[in-house]
Amino acid sequence: MGKGKYEESSSDEEVNSSSDVVEASSDEEVESSSDEVEALSDDVESSEDESSSDNEKVEESDSSEDEVAPRNTVGDIPLVEWHKDEEHIGYDIKGRKIKKQPRKDKLASFIEGADDPKNWRKIYDEYNDEEIELTKDEIKIIQRVISGRTPHAEVNPYEDYVDWFEYEDKGHPLSNAPEPKRRFIPSKWEQKRVANLVRKIRAGLIKVSDQNKEEEHNVYSLWTDDTDSVENKKRGGYVPAPKPKLPGHEEAYNPPVEYIPTAEEINSYELMYEEDRPKFIPRRYLNYRSVPAYDKGVKESFDRCLDQYLCPRTRKKRINIDPESLKPKLPSRKDLRPYPTTCYLEYRGHMGPVNCISVDPSGQWLASGSTDGTARVWEIETGRCLKIWEVGEVARQICWNPSPDRPILAVVLEYDVLLLNSGMGDIDIQTKMKELLHISEPGATEDAGDSKSAVTWIQHEKHDGIRMKHFKAVSSIEWHFKGDYFTTVVPSGDSKAILLHQLSKKHSETPFRKLGIPVTAVFHPSKKKFFVATKKFVHVYDLSKVEKIQKLETGVREISSISIHPGGENIIVGSKEGKMCWFDLELSTRPYKTLKVHSKDITRVTFHRTYPLFASASDDCTAYVFHSTVYSDLNQNPLIVPLEILRGHKPEHGRGVLDCKYHPRQPWLFTAGADSIIKLYCH
C-alpha cells in the first residue's frame, strides 16, 4: 500500500527528471515521514540519483513491514496492456526479466481456493505477479484503518498533556503585597448608612415590611356629606357606559311556550346571515334543578369589559316621538272645497293612448289628441264626441286658442303643426276663421334671416286649415293669451329651437338663440314675459326687449312640464323623477318648495285659471290635486296643501296619466290616460 505511493512519487520525479529546488523540497516532504533525513540530504545533493537508489531506500525503510522486496522495477505502467503478450512481467533490479507465472485455469484455482482455508486472506499482486497471504496482524491493521483508528493498537492518540512549565508548589505569589487594613475594619459608609436607616425607622419614615402587610381593610367613609356639594366637577364630556340590556321573558329558564321557537324556526336561523341570527335561543327547563351552568357567562362578562374600555362612546339622541307629530298640520280639506274628488264622466272613443287634451275657453268643448291618429272634440257636459279629424299621425299636443272669438285648434304632429278650424261659434266667427286660416300664396312666409326656413306655412286641403311644416320634430305648442301669437318648441333645433308665430300675419321667427335643449316654452298669462324650460333650468325672458331676466334653478334631473300661476308670479315645474317644484319668482330663483309626489315621471302640471288649485299627472296612474293660495301680501308665503289623489286610470305599456287640464271656470279636472280614456273629475 504505502509502497505504491512511493512509487508514484518517484515516478513523478522520473517524468519530470529535472533537479529543481522546488521538486527537492517536495521530495523532502515525502521523505521526512520515513525519518531518513541524512539520506535525503544526500539525495538533494546528488540530485541526479535515479529511482533505483530511491527504491533501495524505500526497501530499507519498509523492511520492517515487507520482508519481500518488490522484484519488479518497471514502475507505474499499465502492466496488463503492455505486457499482455510478453512472457515476462518486468525486470528485477539487476535487469533480468521476470517470467510470468504459469496461468492456472479458473476451475483449478477455484478448487484450490475452496480447499485452502486461508484463501480469504490471499490477495493477488499483479505488479509482482504473485499471490500474497496476509498475516493476522496485517488484517487487523487493515480493519483498524478502515474503521478510522490508528493502524497500530498500541498507539494512544489521546495521551495526557504534560505541561512543559511547572508552577505548583513553587511558593511565590504574583503580588507579594500584604493584605490592606480596610479588609479588617468595618466600613465607615456602611455604618453611616445603617445609622441613617435606623434613624428613619425610629422616626417612622420607613416601615418594616411586617407592619406593611397588615393592611387589608383600609376602607373608610369616602363620600362625606360635603363632597356632594363641593366636588361635582366631572370631566367634560364624560359619558357613562350604557347599562346592559335587561332580560325579557324569553331568557327565563322556564319561559312561556310561545317564546320558544319551533324546530323549523331554529333551522331557519341557520339560513340567516351571521349578524341577523338571534344570539340567544330560548329553551325551556322543566325545573330549576335541571338548569345547567351557563357556559358563556365568563365570556360575556369579558365582552362587557372590552366594550367598556374599547368602545367609543357618544351621546346619541334617541328619538322617542310619536310619528304622527312628524306630520305637518295641514288645514282641513273641508275648508278648501271645492276641488275635484270623484270621477264624474268618462269620454271613450279613442283607440289608443290619449296624449293630450285641451278645454276651450268657453268651457263647453274638450279637444283631445291620441296616438291612434285622430283628434276629437267632445261636448263636456254630455260626453258626446262632436268631431273627429283624421290627422294621420300621432297627435302629440293639442291646444285651443284662448281667445273666445277664434275657435282654432292647434294640433302638434311629428313635424307639423295643424291649425284647424273647430267649427264652433256663429257664422260671423266662422267666416272670420275661414279668412284667417287661408293662405293666399304658399311659401310666401319665408324666414327672412335664414337661408333655410325653419317653418313653412301651407294650406291644408283636407281639413281646411293651415299646416305648418317644421324642419325638425316639434314637441310642444303654447298660445299667447291674446290668441294671435303662439310658440312651438323644436328640441333638436339648436338656435332655432324656439319659434314664435303670428297667426294673423302667418309669420314665424326665432328670437332666442343660444339655448340648451328646450323642453317646453310658455307665455306669461298677462305680461310680456316668456318662459323657456330646458332640462334643468327655467329661463325667463322679457319679450319686448328679447333678453333674459331670470334663470331658475330647479335642482331636478329633467323637467317635463311647467305651468304658470294665473297671477304670473309663481311657477310649478314637474320633473321626470316625480318631483314638483314651486317657484316664487319674487322670492328666489330656487324652489320655494319641492314636493316628492309621484313615484314615476310627472307628465303634466297645470294650474286652474280661477280657483286656487293645481294638479299634477303622472305615469304612476295617479293625479294629485293641490290647493295653492297665493297671497298678495309679499311677506306671506304661498300655502300649498295636497288635497286629493285621483286614481282610476289603468297602466298601459308602463304609462299612466298622460295629460291633465282644468276646466276654465269649474273646479273640474280632466285627465287623459294611456288606457285611451279621458276622465272628468268633479267636486
Binding site: Y220, W223, A241, Y253, D295, Q308
Partner: protein, 607 residues
C-alpha cells in the same frame, strides 16, 4: 405631544386634530406600554371617542386629548412606573439566584390605592350607586369562580369577592331594598333600589363555572381590582348608613359551615354588637333575629332592660348614640311605601330549604322580603321538624315524608311571589309538577304589546289580593286589647275598602281607556276608525258584510290622509317617519309571531 402652552409649528390650534389624539400617539406621549395604558384607562374610566372627522384614518382609536393630559397628570402613572422598575429589580435578583434579595424586594413591592380615583370618578355617592351594575355582576361572577390554587385567579381575590358580595346582599336584605328577581338561563337577576337608584345585577347559578381560554383575565382582573375597591367603599358607606360597623366580624362557626351570608345577616341584624340586650331589641323591631322564639313574650321585659341599660350608659358612648340613630332611621325607612310592601310580603312566614335547593339565592331573597328561613345542616336557626314552617322549598321529583301543615313548593314560587308582590297560590308550584312559566319582571308587557297568559292571571290575583288586603295595615295598628272594637272597625274598613276599591277600579278603567286611546292615537288609529272598528266588533258575525262595507272606505281614506301628509314632509322627516313605522311594524310582527305560536301550542294541547 407638546406641553400645554407650547404649540409646535404646524400643530392644530382647533378642530378635531387639536381635540383628539390617536391611541398610539397617546401611549407615546405618556411613555407607557400599551398594557399600562390599558390599565390606566380602565382604572380611570377613560374611553375612546368618535371625532367628527377621523383625521388620522378610519381604523384608528381616538381619545380625547383632555383625557390623555388628565392621565399624564395622574399620580398612579408614576406609581405604575415605580412598580415596573421594582419588578425589574426582582427579576434581576432572581436571575442572579439571590433569593433573599428577591424575597425582600417582593415584600416591599410598591402598592397603590384607588380610593382617590373612586372619588374622582364618582364625586357623589349616588353616582357610584348609579354605576354599580357592572361592578356587582363582575364581583358576583368572580365570587362563584373556583377558588383553586394555581388557577389564573388568586384565591385571595375570589375570597374577597365572596365577602364583598355577601356583604352587599346582607345589606340589601336587611334594608328590604330588593325589588325584583328573575331566574334566567344565564343566572339569577336581582334588582334592588338603593337611595332611589335601581341597581340590577346578575349572579351565576350556583354551579361550577367554566373558565374559557378565549378570555384575557388580565383585563378582567384590572376591572375587578377597581370594582372590589369600589364595592368595599360603597359597602362601608351603606353599612354606616344603617349604623353597622364595617368590616363585619363574622361568627367563625358559621363561617366554617360556609354559611357566611347567614352569619352576615346575624351580624348586620345585631348591629354593632355592643350588648346582647340591645341586639335583641333591635332584632325584635326588625323581625330579623329569628332564633329567639321567646322574644315576643318578653318584649316588654327587654325594653325595660334596654331603657335601664341606656340610662346606665354614658351619654357620649357611641353605641348608645348609634342605637338611637338606628331607631330614628328605622322610622324614616318605613315611610317608603315600596319598602313596607317588600318588608311585609313574607312576614310571619317560616321557610325551610331542602338540601338540593340552591341555598344562597333563597337565603338572600326570603329575608329580604321579611321571611324567616332555615336549611338543613348545622347551625341553622330551626330544624325541619319545626311545626311553624309554612313553606318548604323543594326541588326534587317527589317528596317522601310530608308535613301536612306546610306547603311543599318549588323555588320558582318564591321568585314569582316576589315579582308579583303577593303570596301566590302554591298549588301550581307543588313538588313534581311543571311550574307555570317564569316571567321576567323587567318587561313592560303593555309597552311590548303582548301579555303572556300567566301575567294576566297574576294581575288578576294581584287585583283581588289588593281588594282583600288593603285595609289590613290599618288593622295591624289597631289596639289589640279591644277585640270588639277591632272587629267592628275591621268590618267598617272592609266595606269602605271595598267601596274604595270599586271606585278605584272604575277610575282605573277610565284611565286605562284613556291610555288605550292615547296609545291608539300614537299608533295612528283615528277616532273614527276605532269607532267603526268598535262598531264592527259590536255588531256580531251576522253583519259581516256590512262591517266590511263600513271599514274598507274608511281605511282607504285614512291611507289617503297618510299619503297626503307624507307628501308635505321634508325628506328628513319622512325618513324618520318611515323608520319609526318600520320599527313599529317589526314590533307588531314579533307580537303576531308570539300570538301565532301561542295559538298553535294551545291547539296542539287541546287536539
Amino acid at each position: 405631544m407638546p406641553p400645554k402652552h407650547y404649540r409646535a409649528p404646524g400643530k392644530k390650534k382647533e378642530g378635531n386634530a387639536a381635540k383628539y389624539i390617536t391611541r398610539t400617539k397617546a401611549t407615546k406621549y405618556l411613555q407607557v406600554s400599551l398594557n399600562t395604558f390599558r390599565k390606566l384607562c380602565i382604572l380611570k374610566g377613560i374611553f375612546p371617542r368618535v371625532p367628527k372627522k377621523k383625521f388620522e384614518g378610519n381604523h384608528k382609536t381616538y381619545y380625547s386629548l383632555k383625557d390623555i393630559t388628565f392621565l399624564a397628570h395622574e399620580p398612579l402613572l408614576e406609581k405604575l412606573r415605580h412598580k415596573r422598575a421594582h419588578e425589574k429589580k426582582v427579576k434581576k435578583a432572581k436571575a442572579r439566584k439571590n433569593k433573599e434579595l428577591a424575597e425582600r424586594l417582593l415584600n416591599r413591592m410598591p402598592t397603590y390605592k384607588l380610593d382617590r380615583l373612586i372619588l374622582e370618578r364618582y364625586p357623589t355617592f349616588v353616582d357610584a350607586l348609579r354605576d354599580l351594575d357592572d361592578c356587582l355582576t363582575m364581583v358576583h361572577l368572580f365570587a362563584s369562580l373556583p377558588a383553586v390554587e394555581g388557577e389564573r385567579i388568586q384565591v385571595k381575590r375570589i375570597h374577597n369577592c365572596r365577602r364583598l358580595s355577601h356583604e352587599w346582599q346582607a345589606f340589601i336584605s336587611r334594608t328590604h331594598s330588593l325589588r325584583k328577581t328573575f331566574i334566567s338561563v344565564k343566572g339569577i337577576y336581582y334588582q334592588a333600589e338603593v337611595q332611589g337608584q335601581k341597581i340590577t345585577w346578575l349572579t351565576p347559578h350556583a354551579l361550577q363555572q367554566v373558565l374559557t381560554d378565549d378570555v384575557d383575565f388580565n383585563i378582567m382582573l384590572t376591572f375587578l381590582e377597581f370594582y372590589e375597591t369600589l364595592l368595599g367603599f360603597v359597602n362601608f358607606k351603606l353599612y354606616n348608613s344603617i349604623n353597622v360597623k364595617y368590616p363585619p366580624i363574622l361568627d367563625p362557626r358559621l363561617e366554617a359551615l360556609a354559611a357566611e351570608l347567614y352569619a352576615l345577616f346575624r351580624y348586620v341584624a345585631t348591629g354593632s354588637t355592643r350588648k346582647p340586650a340591645e341586639n335583641q331589641s333591635i332584632s325584635s323591631t326588625e323581625e330579623k333575629k329569628d332564633s329567639d322564639e321567646k322574644m315576643d313574650t318578653c318584649v316588654n321585659e327587654s325594653d325595660l332592660q334596654l331603657a335601664q341599660l341606656q340610662h346606665q350608659l354614658p351619654s357620649n358612648e357611641p353605641g348608645a348614640l348609634m342605637q338611637l340613630l338606628e331607631d330614628s332611621n328605622n322610622d324614616d325607612d318605613d315611610v317608603d311605601q315600596d319598602t313596607i310592601e317588600c318588608k311585609t310580603l313574607f312576614k310571619n312566614l317560616k321557610f325551610f330549604l331542602s338540601r338540593e335547593v340552591p341555598r344562597e339565592a333563597l337565603l338572600f331573597i326570603i329575608p329580604a322580603f321579611g321571611g324567616v328561613v332555615s336549611w338543613e345542616g348545622e347551625g341553622t336557626p330551626f330544624e325541619e321538624t319545626d311545626e311553624d314552617i309554612a313553606y318548604q322549598i323543594v326541588d326534587r321529583p317527589t317528596q317522601g315524608h310530608k308535613f301536612l301543615s306546610r306547603h311543599y313548593v318549588q323555588p320558582q314560587w318564591v321568585f314569582d311571589c316576589v315579582n308579583a308582590r303577593i303570596i301566590l297560590p302554591a298549588d301550581a308550584y307543588m313538588v313534581g309538577m311543571v311550574p307555570p312559566p317564569h316571567l321576567s319582571p323587567f318587561v313592560d308587557d303593555e309597552a311590548e304589546g303582548y301579555m303572556p297568559e300567566y301575567a294576566e292571571t297574576i294581575k288578576q290575583l294581584q287585583a283581588t289580593a289588593k281588594k282583600n288586603v288593603m285595609p289590613l295595615p290599618d288593622l295591624d295598628n289597631q289596639d289589640l286589647a279591644d277585640p270588639q272594637n277591632l272587629i267592628a272597625d275591621g268590618v267598617m274598613d272592609r266595606t269602605q275598602a271595598n267601596e274604595a276599591a270599586e271606585e278605584r277600579r272604575k277610575l282605573q278603567l277610565l284611565e286605562k281607556q284613556y291610555h288605550d286611546e292615547l296609545k291608539m292615537e300614537m299608533s295612528g288609529i283615528t277616532y273614527s276608525a276605532t269607532l267603526s272598528n268598535k262598531k264592527s266588533e259590536n255588531s256580531g258575525s251576522e253583519e259581516m258584510q256590512h262591517k266590511d262595507e263600513v271599514v274598507v272606505p274608511v281605511s282607504t281614506e285614512k291611507n289617503d290622509e297618510d299619503d297626503r301628509a307624507k307628501l308635505y314632509m321634508s325628506r328628513k322627516k319622512r325618513g324618520l317617519y318611515e323608520a319609526i313605522e318600520i320599527s313599529n311594524q317589526r314590533k307588531k310582527d314579533k307580537v303576531a309571531l308570539l300570538k301565532e305560536r301561542k295559538r298553535k301550542a294551545s291547539a296542539s294541547k287541546s287536539g
